[in-house]
Amino acid sequence: MDDPQIEGIIRAIRLADRAGANRIVDAWAADSSYESAVLHLLTPALETFGELWANSGGESSLAQGYVASKIAEDILAKVLEERQRSHAEAPATKGPVVIGNVQDDYHPLGRRMITAFLRFSGWEVHDLGVDVSPREFLNKAEAVGARVIGASAMMYTTAKNIQALRDEIERRGLTGRVQLAVGGAVFKLRPELVEAYGGDGTAASALNAVVLFEDLWNRSLAFTAGTAHAERP
């Protein structure tokens, strides 16, 4: 990574210096635009930080992850303001997707980081918060036409509730059409639980979740296209 501004943003994240990262992006945007800053500075910085986080073996702190997500939110807000001022047309939104902590799980940070990064990447996200029942997940997914549900669970005890979410997807006949992304500390430490509890995929970090959601969205589209083809007389 040779770009001093990108390195500066990564350094600011590692120091949990939200204001410092914003100053670097603001300086870039003053000569260019926030849209451009997202493409040339922030996205590569966050991707690099995401890799460092995923491979850190627990050395990265909660504060660093939190600040990274806040920086993404800050810059997204500036991009939206910029578009409004210039009356620029917003790029097509991806999704919608539904996100939440599973029933009995009250650890919101990872979920909120993923919401921030998904929205930053242009996804329409319906964030249901903590302690979400399978019925609430599926009611929202059906209401908005979501093809991906993201379910977060921090501990083994609450991760078991993801099975109930999988059962609800199957009960409603939505297997394949609705893909289930699962995440949380327990899945990093025990990846075998993803499949065991009916998840369709997981990501090593909140930033990697964006790639996961793209993949699962495409899987859903392929499933429904395949189903429609099979049903043709």
Partner: protein, 199 residues
Amino acid sequence: MTQADPPVVCIACSIFQREIQHLIQVKAWDVPCRFLGSMLHLEPARLEERLEVSLEGAHREGRRIVLAYGDCCPRMEDLGGGEAVSRTQGINCCEILLGREAYRAMRKEGAFFLLPEWAVHWKRVFKDSLGLEGINARTFMQEMHTRLVYLDTGLVPVPQAELDEIAAYSGLPLEILPTSLDHLQASLKAAITRVSGHE
């Protein structure tokens, strides 16, 4: 429990140490206890190692085991579900003390719970381990929670100075909640019934 039954030992988080020792003192609990430091919660892998060593030691002694812990590390279910082991029901120490309904209700309201041992060591938890300082600490805590709730089991003086520091650090209002040991006692008794078949 008959004389022929294997003896029981309790392996507990030190977050409960004063409370369990009080129950022993008032003769509401008579199982010997071994305590592991509550700060191990910040290092789940190390906590697992220490628990495995403790459990192996107790097994070698031919004991049945009550594990007074929440779901505090990724393999806790395996450790707590082993032969001759029964863990207290509850996702964490706060639920074990408050009972499931009260815990869930307050968590949904955004309560952040503090117990005596962690209140005294708050800087080690929040600053050293989580890396939260200054404005980041305040924005994080206020985004994730609505208030601090100190669970006062009445066995030590309320650490008011430390609680005031945490309130200033987080920008959250503080509530001191008198908390009985009824739920803890019930949870321990239920665990010993499961592991021994007797109360």
